[in-house]
């Protein structure tokens, strides 16, 4: 399992992003995604989310991230991909939100 830490801007679009991400992930992965669910490990109020995905399918999730949010004025950026949940949680709680400069605009 790999854990992808994502920052979403605006922060209230996390649920929309996760639904879209799931759609595009399945479209790109095709039959490889049968029986696989994206696992939302933790959501942070600031607009950060940790998504768990099986190792061989990380490339499809990262590809889907490029596509999601277009046409809906939503930004979505990968902060880090981690191999363990513990490390992912530590990174997510210590690294500054990438869109912090846009929040006060």
């Amino acid at each position: 399992m790999r854990y992808v830490i994502l920052d979403v801007y605006p922060s209230d679009r996390v649920d929309y992003v996760l639904a879209e991400l799931n759609n595009w992930f399945r479209l790109l992965a095709g039959k490889d995604a049968i029986g696989v669910e994206l696992r939302v490990v933790k959501k942070y109020e600031i607009g950060r989310v940790i998504v768990g995905v099986p190792n061989p399918l990380v490339k499809y999730l990262r590809s889907a991230i490029v596509i999601v949010g277009r046409g809906n004025d939503t930004a979505l950026v990968t902060v880090k991909v981690s191999g363990t949940m513990r490390k992912a949680l530590a990174i997510a709680s210590s690294v500054q939100y990438l869109f912090h400069e846009f929040q006060n605009m």
């Binding site: 990262r62 490029v66 046409g71 990968t78 869109f99 400069e101």
Partner: protein, 197 residues
């Protein structure tokens, strides 16, 4: 280090975000800046209605053209002032043909793919992008460059994700297309303009 050749904004927060994502060089398609966070180059984009701007070439570091037909492309391929041929739409009629692509490689012109406007077309855009990369990576010596085409914060994606997307679509290693190739292009353009003699 990643290079973005199609930045259409001078917003400080956008520049700071690009820096945090690993970008080390950018080329601005809009006005002048005073950006100090990141080395910035000025880029002129020639379109169908702005060919008169070619007279201003000396004020810019990089010159690109968005071809509006294959016939004009023939003219621009042999024009020494042009560094880049840009593809930013899913119109197959304006794409360089294989012989034109070979001529571009001979003349030292690079092919730039701006992915944001292409991906905005959804599945159709992804198929176009796949075909584009599959077709032109087979042309020997043709330098291909991938830019995001950033005009505001919502256009920004992690360049490592873009590398993965290109790999998923076409099995091509896109890392050089987003880092080494654009860097080399800027260096070549500077030498051509006589900045580094």
């Amino acid at each position: 280090m990643f290079v973005e050749l199609h930045l259409g904004t001078t917003d400080r927060p956008v520049i700071n975000l690009l820096k945090r994502l690993g970008y080390g060089l950018v080329a601005l398609t809009v006005g002048n800046n005073g950006i100090e966070e990141i080395p910035t180059f000025r880029r002129l984009v020639i379109t169908q209605n702005s060919t008169w701007k070619l007279r201003m070439v000396k004020n810019f570091d990089i010159v690109s053209v968005i071809p509006w037909s294959r016939f004009v492309l023939n003219k621009f391929i042999s024009d020494e002032r042009i560094d880049l041929i840009t593809i930013n739409d899913i119109n197959k009629n304006t794409l360089p043909t294989k012989p034109q692509a070979r001529a571009m490689a001979r003349e030292g012109k690079a092919l730039e793919i701006v992915i944001n406007p292409i991906i905005n077309h959804g599945e159709q855009g992804l198929a176009f992008l796949r075909d584009l990369i599959n077709e032109y990576t087979t042309v020997d010596e043709l330098m291909i460059v991938i830019s995001q085409g950033i005009n505001n914060v919502t256009d920004i994606r992690n360049p490592r994700d873009i590398i993965e997307l290109i790999h998923v679509l076409s099995s091509v290693n896109a890392a050089p297309l987003i880092s080494d190739n654009p860097y080399e292009l800027i260096v070549n353009a500077m030498y051509r303009r006589g900045v580094c003699t």
